[in-house]
Amino acid sequence: MMDRIRFRYACGKELRYLSHLDLLRLFQRAMRRARLPLAYTLGFNPRPKLSLAAPLPVGVTASKEYGEIFLVEPVSPASFRQRLGEQLPKGLTLTGAVVVPVNEPPLASVVNAALYRAAWKSSRPAPTDTMLQKALDKLLAQPAIMIRRFGKSGKITRQNIRPYIFSAELLTSGEQDPALRLLLQVGSKGGVSPSRFLEQLALKGDYTGGEHCWCVHRQGLYIYRECLIDPFPEGGETLDG
């Protein structure tokens, strides 16, 4: 009998430079330290059945990320959260855990949208709201936004990222530095990272400063069909921290 737990966590600035693989290793080791009854894959190199919903871009903090783990014995979500929480380093906080049916499709295959907030954070002069709005309009009006991707073998491919931009809007800030709200596609069917988006935006704008001038935070991951659906089931046992 297997048990499946979906958990929600926040990633703070202390750990924002970890890669997706670093984070997976971190969770695996934390779960082993917590002595959770992990279920393993079969074969000569057994691995815990652990997955994270969508890779978090390096340098980005996040408040609502999701992961899933299979266990060989039931553990209550409250106990899971306490035991794992004790083994997580500063910068990672569990904010919820819930039991989900074993036969549901993996979260990574259904989560397809990520909501980001990008705030200007640079010693360079910030673009005005008008400048940004103009750049946004210009960028989004294009039927296709072609970017170059560098493959592992040094092969360069061209890709249209326009379909992966669900929405991109200016958050009217008044006197503060400007901020953007971006809803971008993630997952196995393709996607675009906020840094690639911000780089393309700068190319259209009358300001200087690409992706390194922005501080990006991922606010949530969603299943996006007609509306945004939160991956935590309604009424599930969640413990908000």
């Binding site: 750990l15 430079y17 890669s19 340098g59 380093p89």
Partner: protein, 592 residues
């Protein structure tokens, strides 16, 4: 100094910024204001390499468990980080506190290989610390060095205040304690060094001055200080079983080269391979008891969450009842799916029993080190294993389910001829063919060929290194023979880096200005093929009027004074000479 503001800005711009965070699991962060002795442990290579080193893990916990001491790590920044640090005038900082290294009381370099020497200077420069010991004020940290290269640290001598020879578990805390007592009394640097020289294993290079003949050969050392011993004897930890073993090592976020826990089964090696420096300097053999090891494994798994523990030593198959130990560990940690691995395997003590112990957690390949292609040459180098040992070890492993093997050989060994080199190819071919005919399957073979480097304190310390041209010729010979036979994957080391390694391995203090000049010319990460340039080094030797071949290619005379003879490895010169002569008579080396 607050580096946080700068680092927040720079880290997003570099590769793998997680190398520089210092907030890994089990990292020790102590209060700088209330800790009396502060030491930065500097590893002169990148994070992923340094974090795989056992010595670093030992020293880290040994010092940090002391209430009055703290020790923080610093690695050589990768070149992209270095460029940004220089552009922004950011000094070298330790990971745990992001404090400048120059504000520490001690900077300890771990000297693992000669090709990291340019990184030592680069790290001192990045830290803003003067290179030469005599130029450093008492306000600057004491620069100390340890590790295998401390047994001939002469090329680095003027840059260091102190070297520690041998085991650091007891000696390093003694050094720090004594320094603390003396500095509280307001003692000056000379007084402190004089007092530290009484600690067994401590070598103060500034207390000696070499002299050379008119013709330029090394003649010996003159003692400059009354408290300097004629021969500095290495420090030996007597009871390893009761010594502290790290149980809560720092668990990296970035994948280390060896991304696993390490348990040291024993220190030292009972074999007497004549080329091997580790075999001499880590003597005698001292073991941990099985019960101690199992307890360490249990605790380490709980504190780290590792899924693999390496049972390390210079020759782990030689641990008595190694089969039983691994079997017990496998049984105890079955449910946690922990893999126990051995770093390299001894052909003559490998057995079916051992092969089966790894079966459930196997991955990748098994590694053996025959070192030479013919039995004659293996006898010369003191690696007394037969072809039958190789065939039966591999056959045992194949019957236990393994199919992929890595074999280590050396080229340029004393008395080696072309035939010995071609024998490597035929040996590998024969091995594959025999396994195929007896067990019905082709095995995968990866053959890795290093170049012999004569090392100080070994019976081969007098031997010349084979010239680079000749090494290239023999490598080509091997490539051709292996390619003709097929089915074997061959890799080899760069003859140029092995040459430089040989120069420094038997180097003296005349190489120090050269090293400084090399650093000025941009040499760093010489152990990395993408950064190493032989031509740049050859130009430097020209410029400094030093003939590198005098160091690397020369057969040293038995009666000739050697620049490292004031450093005691524990093996007498008579014994080394006896072994050196025996090698030429093909006698098996005497086992210790």
């Amino acid at each position: 100094m607050h580096l946080e503001k700068y680092l927040e800005r720079l880290l997003p711009l570099v590769q793998k910024p997680a190398r520089y965070l210092g907030n890994e699991w089990n990292a020790v962060k102590k209060d700088h204001c209330t800790t009396a002795v502060r030491m930065a442990l500097a590893f002169p290579d990148i994070y992923e390499v340094g974090m795989s080193n056992l010595g670093l893990k030992i020293i880290y916990e040994i010092v940090n468990r002391h209430p009055e001491m703290l020790l923080e790590r610093v690695f050589a920044p990768a070149t992209d980080m270095e460029d940004l640090m220089r552009q922004n005038n950011l000094p070298l900082f330790t990971l745990e506190s992001w404090q400048p290294v120059r504000e520490f009381d001690f900077v300890g370099f771990t000297l693992q290989y000669e090709l990291s020497y340019s990184n030592v200077l680069n790290m001192l420069d990045l830290a803003g610390i003067s290179f030469y010991s005599e130029e450093r004020s008492s306000g600057e940290p004491l620069i100390i060095g340890g590790g295998p290269c401390a047994f001939n640290p002469e090329p680095l001598a003027p840059f260091f205040d102190l070297f520690l020879l041998g085991d650091g578990e007891e000696a390093l805390p003694e050094i720090l304690e004594q320094w603390l007592a003396l500095s509280r009394e307001g003692a000056g640097k000379d007084e402190i060094l004089a007092s530290l020289s009484a600690i067994k294993g401590v070598y103060i290079p500034g207390f000696y001055r070499p002299f050379y003949s008119a013709g330029g050969s090394f003649q010996g050392l003159e003692k400059l200080h009354p408290s300097a011993p004629g021969v500095v004897r290495k420090r030996v930890l007597r009871d390893l079983d009761r010594a502290y073993h790290p149980i809560a090592p720092v668990v990296p976020y970035v994948e280390a080269v060896h991304d696993r826990g390490i348990i040291e089964l024993f220190r030292g090696c009972g074999r007497g391979c004549r080329f091997c420096q580790a075999g001499v300097i880590y003597r005698p053999v001292r073991r941990r008891r099985p019960g101690t090891l199992k307890k360490i494994a249990r605790e380490m798994l709980r504190t780290t969450g590792y899924d693999e523990l390496s049972l390390a030593s210079l020759s782990s198959c030689d641990y008595p009842d190694i089969d039983q130990l691994i079997s017990d560990l496998n049984t105890e940690h079955l449910a946690e799916k922990v893999r126990f691995t051995l770093p390299s395997l001894r052909l003559d003590s490998f057995s079916v029993g051992l092969a089966k112990q790894f079966h459930q957690g196997r991955r990748g390949s098994l590694t053996f080190a025959p070192e030479a292609g013919t039995e004659r040459l293996r006898r010369v180098i003191g690696k007394n294993i037969s072809e039958d040992d190789l065939f039966s070890a591999v056959a045992d492993a194949v019957s236990a389910g393994w199919s992929s093997f890595k074999l280590y050989f050396m080229i340029g060994l004393p008395t080696e001829e072309d035939d010995d080199v071609m024998a490597i190819a035929s040996l590998c071919h024969e091995l594959r063919r025999r396994i195929k005919s007896e067990q019905g399957r082709w095995i995968r073979l990866s053959v890795s060929v290093a170049t012999f480097v004569p090392k100080a304190h070994t019976p081969f310390q007098w031997e010349p290194q084979l010239s680079m041209d000749e090494v290239r010729h023999r490598q080509e010979l091997l490539r051709t023979s292996i390619r003709r036979l097929g089915g074997i994957n061959l890799s080899w080391s760069d003859p140029g880096s092995s040459f430089l390694e040989a120069v420094f391995a038997r180097g003296d203090r005349r190489l120090s200005p050269l090293l400084e000049r090399a650093w000025q010319k941009g040499c760093r990460f010489d152990g990395w093929s993408e950064h190493f340039s032989l031509q740049r080094w050859l130009d430097l030797f020209d410029e400094m009027k030093i003939n590198p071949e005098d160091y690397a290619y020369r057969r040293y005379g038995e009666a000739e004074p050697l620049p490292w003879e004031h450093l005691g490895s524990g093996s007498s010169k008579e014994m080394l000479i006896r072994e050196y002569r025996r090698a030429r008579q093909d006698n098996p080396s005497l086992e210790v």
